[in-house]
């Protein structure tokens, strides 16, 4: 212990028995021989001069970023915590070789601890990334599993409420040649669906918008404007066949489950189908504004063509209607906004037709002219 000198600004904390547990601020000076620890005069503690050989070092603090210098023997060990990087550098440059070894070992241990920490973060980030990628790519598979687990009854209830709501705002045409024609086309198609689990309901709704859509559970709506635009019954059959196949392939349910996200998907797989309608309500999934994905459209096209073929209806009506509507379309053809007719799509449909064996088409019992004539006055009056 030396004599007390003029106070200097503290740059370290000193710890030992009898000192506060938060450490006593002190000033550490480093010379070629060792270090001097000075305390504020009012603490009543004198300077401490310590040769390097009396010291041992280690790393301390939460992130091992402080140099802990220790001296004395237990139980009267004393330590100073150095945090200032320039002070630590001065200590290193002044330290004799034997203490340098200790310092290097300490620094190596800290580096190892930090690299272990970084590695742990890296591995975790990579694992989370891999999991996300895995989920992203297996999402369709997961959605498929989830949809398979939704009972038909539930699907029907989901579709029915949207269907009824729609019909309240847009009254269905009750009877007449148009309704009879749509019924005949639908019945022919439905009769050729193998193992059909659905009870389809097809409604004709008076509207100047060219549109048709299908809701989960087997509810299909055709707008009168679409019937007016169709040049023959085969074109209407093409649209209906496409829509029926959206139902059969449960495309709407797939979209809903996908929109609701992973939590719901997993919930359904685990067995919480009951929650679907509630969750839909909560986040406001609008069945009527649901758009199908490109792969779902292709699937409905292909299975739709096959159904037309099995039903002995000329499948080329599907293509001609899409193409004509695309050429004509300058607004008002809502159906095309969800069913854009690209050149690729037309080619795919034509290739699919070419693959199907040729069969003779069976005509319908109604005359298409009569249907359109019946629609005209309705449209004018409306």
């Amino acid at each position: 212990m030396g004599s007390a000198t003029a106070p200097t600004s503290p740059n370290a904390l000193c710890f030992s028995d009898g000192l506060p547990s938060t450490g006593l601020p002190c000033h550490v000076e480093i010379s070629a021989d060792g270090l001097t620890v000075r305390f504020d005069e009012h603490n009543g503690l004198g300077d401490v001069n310590l040769p390097f050989r009396a010291l041992s070092v280690s790393a301390g603090g939460l992130n091992h970023d402080q140099l802990v210098v220790r001296w004395g023997t237990a139980p009267s060990t004393q330590t100073v915590y150095l945090k200032d990087p320039s002070l630590i550098r001065t200590f290193r440059s002044a330290a004799p070789p034997e203490l340098m070894k200790e310092l290097d070992a300490t620094a190596a241990a800290v580096r190892r601890a930090r690299s272990r920490n970084r590695m742990a973060w890296g591995i975790t980030a990579a694992a989370i990334g891999a999991l996300m990628v895995g989920i992203w790519f297996s999402m369709d598979l997961l959605v498929g599993w989830a949809v398979d687990r939704i009972p038909l009854d539930w699907e029907r209830r989901i579709g029915e409420s949207a269907y009824q709501d729609f019909l309240i705002q847009h009254p269905a045409v009750k009877d007449g040649p148009a309704v009879a024609a749509v019924q005949e086309i639908s019945e022919r198609l439905i009769a050729h669906i193998p193992g059909n689990p659905y009870t389809f309901e097809v409604a004709v709704v008076k509207s100047e918008v060219v549109n048709a859509f299908a809701l989960p559970g087997g509810y299909v709506v055709v707008f009168t404007a679409l019937l007016q635009q169709a040049e023959n019954a085969e074109e209407v059959a093409g649209v209906l066949s496409h829509e029926l196949n959206h139902v059969l392939e449960r495309h709407a349910l797939q979209r809903i489950v996908k929109q609701l996200g992973l939590v719901t998907t997993v919930g359904i797989i685990i067995g919480d189908q009951q929650g679907l309608a509630r969750v839909m309500k909560q986040i406001g999934v609008e069945l009527l504004s649901l758009k199908f994905g490109r792969s779902q459209e292709t699937e409905a096209d292909v299975t739709g063509l096959q159904l037309l073929h099995r039903s002995h209806i000329d499948p080329s009506g599907m293509i001609t209607f899409f193409q004509r509507m695309t050429q004509k379309e300058r607004g008002g053809v809502e159906w095309l906004s969800t069913h854009p007719m690209s050149a690729g799509r037309a080619q795919r449909l034509e290739a699919e037709i070419a693959r199907l064996p040729k069969t003779a088409a069976e005509p319908f019992t109604f005359k298409w002219n009569t249907v359109q004539d019946a629609l005209r006055p309705v449209a004018v009056r409306g």
């Binding site: 547990s21 450490g23 601020p25 603090g61 939460l62 402080q66």
Partner: protein, 227 residues
């Protein structure tokens, strides 16, 4: 700046007297009342990115409020959201404190607040999240706890075990690591403790007498489930 804790116990407040021109920064929403001479400013401590990182990383509020005695001396009353004690510490410029995200109530203008990332094991199992606040500089630091606040003083190399989620703040000279509460995995969880933090001195550790997470779980069972 003078301060005083009013109504010590479960529902305390701090009265801070500011001289003309003096400022104090406080957690957003902490002000209860003030003299008409005090202006409230919203400030993103550490700039936009600093504030954003604090918000995203620690869950602390994006803005701190700065209360400035711009129109003459006055007083401010501050209180935390949760019931619990308040403790005032004087930082000497050398001691740094790590503060869990909900522990900061207010501090002098001169203190520095940063977000600090914890190691993976501490972040995952320590109960404070991956990021905590590092408070340094010279000035007053006002902390609040959930329940009573208890100070544990640790001598060099002295160890102490704290259940995770009971930590409020600890000095930068201490270190801790996470370990299972009991020797076996099953016993660790059946004992109700799971993981604990083993602290090593020197330094001080402030702990809170209630665990916010456990309290939340306890309250949840009384909330009616709406269909």
């Amino acid at each position: 700046m003078k301060h005083e804790i009013l109504y010590p116990g479960a529902f305390p407040m701090v009265r801070v007297e500011l001289a003309a021109g003096e400022t104090i920064k406080a957690e957003s929403g902490a002000m209860v009342a003030s003299s008409p001479t005090i202006d409230i400013e919203s400030k993103m401590e550490g700039g936009f990115l600093g504030a954003l990182s604090r918000k995203l990383l620690t869950g602390e509020k994006f803005f701190f409020q700065t209360l400035r005695a711009s129109r003459g001396a006055g007083e401010v009353l501050l209180a935390p959201t949760v019931p619990g004690e308040i403790v005032i510490m004087e930082l000497d410029g050398l001691n740094e404190y790590m503060v869990q995200k909900d522990g900061f109530l207010a501090g002098s203008e001169s203190i520095k607040i940063e977000s600090q990332m914890q190691s993976l094991s501490r972040g995952l199992l320590g109960g404070e999240g991956f990021f905590i606040l590092k408070v340094s500089g010279k000035g007053s630091l006002i902390l609040n706890s959930f329940g009573a606040i208890h100070k544990v003083e640790l001598k060099p190399d002295q160890e102490y075990i704290v259940d995770n989620s009971h930590l409020v703040a600890w000095s930068g000279t201490t270190s801790y690591h996470i370990e299972r509460a009991a020797s076996g995995w099953v016993a660790s969880f059946t004992s109700g403790e799971g993981f604990v933090c083993r602290f090593r001195g020197p330094g001080v550790v402030y702990i809170q007498s209630r665990n916010p997470g456990s309290f939340g779980a306890w309250v949840r069972q009384f909330i009616p489930v709406s269909e």
